[in-house]
Every structure is written in C-alpha cells, then in structure tokens.
C-alpha cells in the first residue's frame, strides 16, 4: 500500500539541542567544593557531542550557552562550513570552534553582567528561560524548513539553582515544547535538584537525572541522553522519582506551596489581592483568613 509520507525521518535521526550552563558562580563554587571543573565538564560534553554526530550521518547537534545574563548559539553542526576532506579532520575543528565561540560568549556575558551591576549577583541563577526559548526557536525553524527533518530534543546541562523570577517564562517554554512534542531531557550537574527541570522533563516526556558521580558524566550522557527518541520506547530509562510541582507567585517571584489563584486567568499570588494584576479581574470579598483555614483543614486528610 501507499506509505504515508512523513516529514520526520522514521528511524533514529536526531537533532539534539544542548544547553550548557556556563554560569561562572556555579563553576567557581563546584571547583572549590568538588574536583569537577569546567574544563573536565567540557571534555565530557564534547565527547558526547562527537558521539551523537558519529552515530548517524544525518544527526545534528546545536549547542547553546546559558550565561548569567545572556545566552547564545555556540555551535551548529549543520551550519555550512569549509568542507573538510575527512571526518577525522573535522573533529579537532569542531572542538576548537566550540571553544572559541564559548570564550567569546563568556567574555560578552561578563561584560553585560558588569553593566547590569550587582543586582544579578545576588541571585546566581543562569538564564534558563532564554536558552530554552532559543532552542525552541531553532527547532521551530527546522520544523518549518519544509524538507525532511530529524527528530528534535533538548538536553539541559544545568547546575545553577532555579531563578524564581524566570518561572513564567520557563513554564511557557515548557508548554510550548510540549505542544510541539519536543522532549526536554535534564541532566542536573549542580548540588541541588532543579524544580524547573523536573517539571520540564515530566511535562514533555523527557528524562530527568541528577548523576550522583560527576566524574563519570560521559557514561551517563552516553547511556541515557544519547538514546534517540525511536529507541526510548524499548528501553528502561530513569523514571521520575518525585517532581517538585511548586510554583512561583507572580507578585514577588517566590516559590510557594500554597497561594491564591485568579479564577479567570490562573495567575498565582502569595497574598490576597483586590484585583488580579494579570487580567484585571476584581476578586470577591470573602474573608481570606477563613478561606485559608478551611483549605488547611481539608488538606490534612489526603496528606497523611
């Protein structure tokens, strides 16, 4: 029978968009606490990128650096470059190109940090929302390019703590990834779990993992995150153990367990407001304390 032409390659052809956390606060902190340094991290990641490109002639890798105040494309394996006669000669070139772009990026990120002043230094989270959006933009462009395209996925290599002020932007990025069926894989290389990434992987059907031993990062990357979407349906992959579903309020950007939600637009607030700051709906005059107490009592039973 006539086969249904699909714009996706049927098999294991992948487009992997890797988001690298280049937050200087993270890397100076880990350098003092553990033995895992940024150069080591890069060595693992570069081998991983290399393996992805090696696995299939049509595989494509895009690297985006997530800085403190900015983010940018660092590498795109599909970008037309001077044709190298052999793949073996292409690899050192890949490395040097990634490293050079990364250096440029770190320099400009530092300059924008300086001009921004001390405000950002208080919260050393990196601009995850920005790099997620860049990744999704890139993927949308691939989707719309017309020709056949590989199956895209995003891999976040994130170590910095979540920035609650980015909550809305990150969630929007996650939902748009979900809509376009792009899984977000997360590999947390920092000290604590990331609630943002737990939710991102949970909602988009990606894999969330916090490797207990960073020395073997390549093994984690090659075992779990190199798995193409086609093979994932046959393999045992880490399952989410617990997802931190807490939200940030829209008024003070604090992470909260319980709060107030606008019944019209679902905006979240940590305190009772007279009027929704997002959609302008006027809230009723019900006694907020009594309502809070009532929900408290209700919550107790199912929580035991």
């Amino acid at each position: 029978m006539a086969s249904v032409p699909s714009k996706l390659y049927s098999d294991d052809v992948s487009l992997v968009v890797v988001l690298l956390d280049t937050n200087p606060f993270l890397w100076t902190a880990t350098a003092t606490a553990t033995t895992f340094t940024f150069p080591e991290f890069l060595a693992h990641v570069l081998s991983f990128l290399n393996s992805i490109i090696l696995l299939n002639q049509l595989n494509q890798v895009v690297v985006i650096a997530t800085g403190l105040n900015s983010c940018d494309y660092i590498f795109d394996s599909s970008a037309p470059s001077k044709v190298e006669p052999f793949e073996s000669a292409r690899m050192p070139l890949l490395y040097s190109r990634v490293l050079r772009r990364l250096e440029d990026f770190l320099g400009s990120d530092e300059r924008s940090e300086r001009s921004n002043g001390a405000a950002a230094a208080a919260a050393p989270s990196s601009l995850l929302s920005g790099s997620l959006s860049l990744a999704l933009c890139y993927i949308q462009r691939v989707f719309r390019s017309g020709a056949l395209h590989p199956q895209p996925r995003i891999l976040c290599l994130q170590g910095s703590p979540d920035g609650p002020e980015q909550y809305v932007a990150v969630m929007n990025a996650i939902f748009s990834a979900q809509r376009s069926m792009v899984p977000i894989d997360s590999c947390v290389i920092g000290a604590q779990h990331s609630a943002f990434l737990q939710q991102a992987s949970y909602i988009t059907g990606g894999v969330y993992l916090k490797p207990p031993m960073l020395d073997g990062l390549f093994q984690y990357l090659s075992t779990i995150f190199a798995t193409d979407l086609h093979s994932r349906s046959f393999l045992q992959l880490p399952k989410p153990v617990g997802v931190d579903f807490r939200a940030s309020c829209f008024c003070h950007k604090k992470t909260i367990d319980m709060g107030y939600i606008c019944s019209v637009c679902l905006s979240i607030f940590c305190k009772h407001h007279k009027k929704c700051s997002t959609c302008g709906s006027v809230f009723g005059q019900a006694n907020p304390e009594a309502a809070a107490a009532a929900t408290d009592r209700k919550r107790k039973a199912p929580e035991v």
Binding site: A2, S3, V4, P5, Y9, D11, D12, V13, S51, L54, L55, N56, Q57, L58, V83, E84, P85, F86, E87, S88, A89, G146, A147, L148, F218, Q219, S222, T223, A226, T227, D228, H230, S231, S233, F234, L235, Q236
Partner: protein, 379 residues
C-alpha cells in the same frame, strides 16, 4: 549441511558475511568502524556507545535488563547484529591517513553539487536509485574474486569512498592500481566523476558514493520531485530531461512537450503497454510518489488515490483470466473410478475442476500422462 546462500540486502550484510579474519582486518580502518557503527540498528548503536569504556565483560542477562518487555525482540536483533559483525570484540579505533586533497590554488572549474547530483542520477531509472545501485554493487563485489580482486579490499575501498566529502576533488595518484581500476567502473555508474587536469587527474565523489554505506533510501536523500498527477489522470512533469520524458513514455501517453514541461495522460492503453514490458503497477505508483513535485508532495496522498487505485485495478484486470492447458475427462465407468481419479489428481496437485454429479473432471495437461497411466491401472 546444505550451504545456505544468504542474499545480502545491503552493504553491511555483505560485510557481515566476510570470514572472521578478513572482518577483523577490516576493522583496522577507521572508516569501516564508522560505517559499521552507522549501519547498526538504533538500539545496537546505543549499546556500542554505552559499552565503549566498559573493560569488563557484560553478561547477556544484565543487558536484557536494559530493555522493556516490548523491546526484547529489537534487543535480540541488535545483539545478534553486533555479534555477527564481531563488534563486541572490536574496541580500538586508530587514525587513518587522509587522502591527499586537491590543492586549492589549482584553477580547474569544479562541478557544483547540483551538477554532480544530476550527473549521478542521469543513468538511473524507475526504481529507488540506491536500491538499484545496491543490486549492481552486490554483483560487482561478488564477481570481484573472478577478476582476481580481493572482495575485502574492494569493500574497504568502497566504504572509505563513502566518507569522502561530496564535491571535493581527490588526486588519483594516491590510489593503488586495483583501486584505479575500480574507480573507472564506479565512474560509469555515476559514483564518482573523473576530472582530467593538465598533468594530474582527480576523482570527485558524488552523493551516490557517499550514501553507499548508509544503505539509505531515496526518501532520506531526496531529490527534488517534478511530477504532478491530477485526479483526471493527467500528468504534468516539470523537467527538461530527455530521460524523464522517456521514463514517462513507458507508462503514460505523452501529449505535448514544452521546453521545460511534459504533459501526458495515464490511460489504460499506455499502462497495458507498461505491463507488457514487465513494469508493475507498484513500480509506477512508487515512481510517481517518489518524484512528486514539492507542491503536491506536501499532501497526503501525493498521488490522487483514484489514480493509484485505478492503476492497480488495471493491472489486476490482466491477471483476471489465467490460461492453463488441461485435459477434460468424462464418461467414467463408475462413481468409484471417478472418485479415485479425482482424488489421485487432487493429491498430485493437478485437479483444476470437477463435477461429481455428471462425473466430469479437468486436470492440468502436465498430468495427462500420469492420469492415463492411473486410469489404465484401474481397468
């Protein structure tokens, strides 16, 4: 033990069928390692990557725990393939000397990538180009021993060729004699283009060569389509190629031809013509689908369903009546004789028709002598 002849479906099957020693020798070449890795089923690729830095043996049982119950069959296929190709024994990768690239200061005009594609595809007909190519390469490799060449050397050269950059020129003086000889044959097939310089010569691999080891189908290395088929069986082909117009003439009535457009119609007569020449309905349909113009390729189906159905129906029309030479027997002496005869014919697979009431039966002509012998014995 009977020798089972395995028909290689693609390049890697052929590699896998090589004797162990030769296969191990092939793995000394980085290109082969890379080509083999890329040819593996997705799961197998993943396992290779995962086990790359594991020194100790891994038990098959623990590997089976990696997969879900659904994936067990795929897992077995992957493992079988890895063992067949002796990949589980292969861990080292060594660097190889790159072929000397053409110095950039030489001012010979190189063909553009598009021109190369056109050149490469010029000679190929209805079927998926890579599939046809594979048929030919398979014969070429299996005949290599008769020509006094080592199939392993040939395979390794072909694989190496597939890692050359499309459109780059490489100097011929880096090749040994056998490779030179092979290259000339490959040039005839459109895998490489030979370019003569004043003193030296170069070869330029085309996309066919670089796709060779990947066993890709045309769908993944797609060329621009040019055919639009309408629901009224009219066909418009935006092409200047003489070859295209000849291919279309095989199964369609070409009505008029403009410099860049061929207009025709698919008719019952034109299709019967094609069927007589041994072209099947499926081949025609897949040709129309594979070469659908980008405007219609976006749609599903790219060729109108009523047209594809009708092409298949006309083909089955031809198969409706089958003529089998046969003999007709009647006037049996008794019911027993009739039933014995019809059973005998049935057991020997020659019974075509029987009417037990009137005691008549029709048996394949090939069985006539046997039947006569049988009936004589009954008397």
């Amino acid at each position: 033990m009977p020798q089972v002849r395995i028909i290689a479906k693609n390049f890697m099957d052929m590699v896998a069928a090589l004797p162990e020693l030769k296969l191990d020798k092939l793995y000394e070449n980085t290109f082969i390692c890379e080509a083999v890795l890329r040819s593996l089923p997705p799961l197998a690729k993943k396992y290779v990557l995962q086990l790359l830095f594991i020194d100790a043996p891994v038990t098959a049982k623990s590997m089976e725990e990696w997969v879900l119950a659904d994936g067990l069959s795929k897992h077995r296929v992957a493992i079988d393939r890895l063992i067949q190709l002796r990949v589980f024994l292969e861990t080292t990768e060594s660097g190889a000397l790159p072929r000397e690239p053409m110095p950039s200061n030489i001012t010979v005009r190189l063909p553009t990538l598009e021109e190369l594609d056109v050149y490469a595809l010029e000679q190929w007909e209805l079927m998926d180009t890579n599939a046809q190519l594979w048929y030919i390469m398979r014969e070429y490799i299996s005949n290599s021993e008769d020509r006094g060449e080592d199939p392993a050397d040939l395979i390794s050269f072909l694989l190496e060729l597939s890692f050359h950059a499309t459109g780059q020129a490489y100097n011929l003086n880096t090749l040994i004699d056998v490779q030179m000889h092979t290259l000339k044959d490959l040039a005839d097939l459109g895998l490489v283009k030979l370019q003569q310089g004043r003193k030296e010569s170069w070869f330029i691999p085309t996309k066919l060569a670089t796709n060779l080891s990947m066993s890709l189908t045309d769908s993944s290395a797609r060329k621009e389509g040019f055919v639009v088929v309408e629901t009224n069986f009219r066909l418009y082909a935006y092409s200047t190629s003489k070859l295209h117009s000849e291919i279309l003439r095989l199964f369609a009535r070409v009505e008029y031809q403009l410099p860049n457009l061929i207009v025709g119609a698919i008719t019952k007569e034109s299709l019967y013509n094609a069927f007589e020449n041994g072209i099947t309905a499926e081949q025609i349909i897949s040709f129309l689908q594979q070469n659908a113009h980008p405007r219609v390729a976006e749609r599903t189906p790219s060729v109108p369903e009523n047209v594809t159905d009708q092409i298949r129906l006309w083909e089955t029309d031809l198969n409706r009546v089958e003529i089998t030479p046969a003999h007709f027997y009647d006037e049996f002496l008794s019911k027993d004789v009739f039933e014995g005869a019809s059973d005998y014919a049935r057991e020997n697979g020659g019974l075509l028709w029987e009417d037990s009431k009137k005691m008549r039966l029709v048996v394949n002509a090939e069985m006539h002598a046997q039947m006569r012998e049988y009936l004589r014995r009954q008397k």
